[in-house]
Amino acid sequence: MNKKDLLNLIDITVSFEGFLALNKLNLNLKKGELRAVIGPNGAGKTTFLDVITGKVKPTKGEVIFKGKSLVGRKEYKIARLGVGRKFQSPRIFENLTVKENLEISVTTPKSPLNLIKKSIKDEQLNEIERLMKIVNLVQKVDSKAGSLSHGQKQWLEIAMLVGQKPDLMLVDEPVAGLTDEETDLTADLLKSLSGQNTVVVIDHDMEFIRRLDSNVSVLNQGTVLCEGTMETIQKDKKVIDVYLGRPED
């Protein structure tokens, strides 16, 4: 364990009635790092996020975030500690407007009393303005989020994630269903976020991952098969066997 690490997953095992979704998974993230996680279906990518965010309790192992253990903590407490998550399919509040969605994410403290007594702070309104500019949703400010296109919904959710100001952003398939152009923009956006924020991106899209230009962890059967730059892992024999496939396939 390094002091510069933001997150350490130590020997995480998750067993669903005997089936090992994660098997002694070890992963360390440095502050400000951008990390891509790939792996075939069923490799445990989403379970890995579920463990960090508190949705799934690991059968064995430890999750250390900013020096604190996350195991057994409630989801909303983990979120308040600074772990934000973007879901695979866009999970936004479709009956609220774009602005209201962002208000929910930037509001602090997130207590009922604060919400009912005080109106939103000016700096939070400015933050909402800024976020809407980044993701090109300024014209949609008062539209219902449900009326947005798929790409705009993905972006709104990314904006909501950023608005939460998490130290660790977990992004699950952010480019699923996006056009090539939108995919490129998303990659640039995520790259620009790293540095200040630590970002974990899970995806299948190899072009997208390559564009992220980051370290890649390959998951297979619930454990980390290989870690390194895109070039390294593309040459790794194990990775080729399980995931990338041999040329003749």
Partner: protein, 376 residues
């Protein structure tokens, strides 16, 4: 579900309020006492309906047990009235105790000698009970249909308890209030009933504004968020348990006020307030009026109950069929309720069908889409 609101002109809103207030003031002179009393009772039911709309329409919690809190409010009011009017009875305790040979007032009746305590108890006790039940249920992440079943089961528990406790609260016979005294006047008297009508009308308006205030802004948006996607709310850093407990408790408090007003205007509170059909009817009022509209809950409660009494007078025993039909109609044809339909595209669609209004030529958001079609 469309939550779009029609924007009314300020003048229209002002004249609406003037007419409404004039009607409320004039109602006791226009309506015969019998009708006035019915209207007052149905108005008081609209307060419990507002609570149902808050928890179901906004937060997605379908409670089939609001009768518990409604009855608790009613019992609080009735206990106060009974105990303050018991001076001429043996042992200075309410008359019914003598039937069961009870000579000493049960301890929990004592605080109800105080009008101040009663004033607060009417809404705080139901709110606390709701908060407690809610917290235990929500903490264990019981939701959806299981929540509904659990609330109905709690309702039955309360019903059976109140029904069986003759020596404590007169069991199945309930507590009569119409022959009790309040401020030296008979509660069932005409002048008192007129007063209760006005109090009810004011409280309905107050409850409406209160509910509007609760759902306005970010607090209300979190409630909608919980209804639509609770895990997302949790991962954003909010604790849904607290929000749900608060709103369930508010709905409980509203139900208590509603129950107290209903009790003094119908002259009795009994375990019949906690029967299963009555609590389901509360949900029907809101469903028919329009979920998530607040005003729909008020209108639904008043109009359905008025229709019920008119139909029952004309064609006894046919009401249940009409009510069932109404519910089926709303579920299949008007899922957003009557008010939701009016506020949505309903009237325009009808007018278009008959050629009375031109169709909108382009989809409203198309213009905006074109501007950023290129995704610059």
């Amino acid at each position: 579900m469309s939550l779009s609101k029609i924007k009314f002109d300020k003048k229209i809103v002002l004249s609406f309020w003037i007419i409404l207030i004039a009607l409320i003031i004039a109602a006791p002179t226009i309506l015969p006492v019998f009708r006035l009393n019915l209207l007052g009772r149905y108005l008081s039911l609209s307060i419990v309906a507002l609570g149902v709309d808050l928890i179901w329409g906004y937060t997605g919690l379908l409670s089939l047990g609001q009768g518990i809190f409604f009855a608790l409010g009613g019992y609080c009011a009735a206990m106060y009235l009974q105990i303050t009017s018991s001076s001429e009875f043996p042992n200075n305790i309410p008359e019914f105790f003598a039937l069961y040979g009870v000579e000493k007032l049960p301890f929990f009746w004592e605080p109800f000698r105080s009008p101040v305590f009663t004033f607060f108890a009417i809404w705080i006790i139901p709110a606390l009970v709701a908060g407690l039940i809610g917290f235990l249920v929500f903490r264990n992440r019981i939701k959806g249909v299981y929540f509904s079943i659990l609330t109905q089961a709690s309702l039955l528990v309360f019903f059976n308890f109140f029904n069986g406790q003759q020596k404590l609260i007169n069991g199945t016979n309930g507590l009569k209030t119409d022959v009790t005294q309040l401020f030296g006047q008979m509660v069932g008297s005409e002048s008192m009933q007129r007063m209760f009508f006005w109090i009810t009308a004011i409280l309905v308006i107050a409850a409406w504004f209160f509910a509007k205030w609760v759902v306005k802004g970010r607090f209300g948006n979190i409630l909608i968020g919980i209804r639509d996607d609770e895990p997302r709310v949790r991962f954003t850093g909010y604790n849904p348990v607290i929000f749900k407990t608060i709103i369930f408790s508010i709905a409980g408090g509203l139900a208590g006020i509603s129950g107290a007003l209903y009790t003094v205007q119908s002259g009795i509170v009994s375990p019949q307030f906690m029967t299963v059909p009555f609590s389901i009817e509360m949900v029907i009022w809101v469903a028919v009026g329009g979920r998530g509209t607040l005003l729909g809950a008020i209108l639904g409660a008043v109009f359905i109950n008025y229709a019920k009494s008119l139909v029952s007078e004309a064609l006894p025993a046919s009401w249940m069929f009409i009510q069932g039909g109404l519910f089926i109609l709303v579920v299949t044809a008007l899922p957003e309720g009557v008010l939701g339909w009016i506020q949505g595209d309903g009237p325009r669609n009808i007018l278009q069908r008959f050629g009375l209004k031109r169709k909108i030529e382009t989809y409203p958001s198309l213009e905006v889409n074109n501007k950023e079609g290129g995704n610059e």
